[in-house]
């Protein structure tokens, strides 16, 4: 990081070529399907191409993660406004109690199972977990991307993991 001054937006084709796999992986883990991931990645690249996102020198992965998250959450909010796609408005109020500790995570959990469990998370929790564990962002970076306090990031990541644990756990 050399400063906070805005720089010319990187060429979208170069971004797609060098960071396409990273971008698509984050999009897929957030969206949960190839169709939605392709739409998401395409919208991200379109925003890059049109220069709609401010670019500052630093981590390209961090920048792309932030754009991808914003596009994803924009779509989530758009769907929330449509009654047929209504989602829980506050995931904190619909969470089940933490499971007992006598559960064991399956040793041979398939990636598809993990993805299914990720997809079942409330959106805010999934975003936090994906940014942390898939995109490799620090809590500070996630806090800045989502514009929420650090404590909220910590809580969402932990509660997301607690729900994943419930989904992926097998009882002995």
């Amino acid at each position: 990081m050399t400063g906070t001054e805005e720089q010319p937006v990187p060429d979208w084709e170069e971004v797609a070529r060098r960071y396409g796999r990273f971008l698509y992986t984050v999009a897929y883990r957030l969206a949960g399907s190839h169709d939605d991931a392709q739409d998401l990645a395409q919208e991200v690249l379109l925003r890059v191409r049109k220069g709609l996102e401010t670019y500052r020198p630093g981590s390209m992965e961090g920048w792309l993660s932030r754009i991808t998250t914003n596009v994803f959450l924009d779509e989530v909010r758009r769907r929330r406004r449509r009654p047929q796609d209504a989602l829980p408005d506050d995931p904190d109020r619909v969470l089940p109690a933490a499971p007992a500790v006598d559960v064991v995570i399956a040793q041979q959990t398939l990636p598809d199972d993990v993805q299914a469990a990720l997809s079942a998370l409330p959106d805010d929790f999934r975003v936090a977990v994906v940014l942390c564990d898939v995109a490799g962002q620090s809590y500070q970076e996630i806090s800045e991307s989502l514009q929420v306090p650090l404590g909220t990031v910590r809580s969402r990541i932990h509660r997301g993991r607690a729900l994943l644990r419930t989904s992926l756990a097998v009882r002995p």
């Binding site: 937006v9 991931a37 392709q38 990645a41």
Partner: protein
């Protein structure tokens, strides 16, 4: 310590605690069976997600095809200054006149007499007259206003 660590466990697993916080958390985990078990599970879940394989797009990524008319791509490299040629200006004026003819034709109920008036103007005007300013002064592009 009476309370359990809860979301501090994830921060501990992620190395997101300060040195002082981490020391306190590890001291608690060393004496609390529940938090020790929870930390193991948190780390296992964390590893499962982190070990997910990268996903390649099934088709090459695109940026949505051609941009809509009028939208410029990001200024990756400086663009040459845009020049508005005289021919382009004439073409715009011609397009405006054509549009004025077509609009009443689409809305035929109200357009019949207006269309006739426009045809009259066109057929009786000298060659160099400003047709646009005669039939629709308000429609003049800014660059053509005197």
């Amino acid at each position: 310590m009476n309370s359990h660590l809860d979301d501090t466990l994830s921060a501990l697993a992620d190395g997101e605690l300060s040195a002082e916080e981490e020391a306190l958390a590890r001291a608690h985990v060393a004496t609390c069976e529940r938090c020790a078990a929870d930390l193991v599970v948190v780390e296992a879940v964390r590893t499962l997600v982190r070990d997910l394989p990268p996903v390649d797009p099934p088709v090459p990524l695109s940026a949505g095809g051609d941009l809509p008319a009028g939208e410029e791509p990001a200024p990756v490299v400086p663009l040459a200054p845009r020049r508005r040629s005289r021919l382009a200006g004439l073409a715009a004026a011609a397009a405006a006149v054509v549009a004025l003819f077509l609009l009443p034709a689409i809305h035929q109920d109200a357009g019949g007499p207006q269309l006739a008036n426009l045809v009259q103007v066109h057929t009786t005007s000298p060659v160099n007259v400003d047709l646009v300013s005669q039939v629709a002064p308000g429609a003049l592009p800014v660059s053509y206003q005197r």
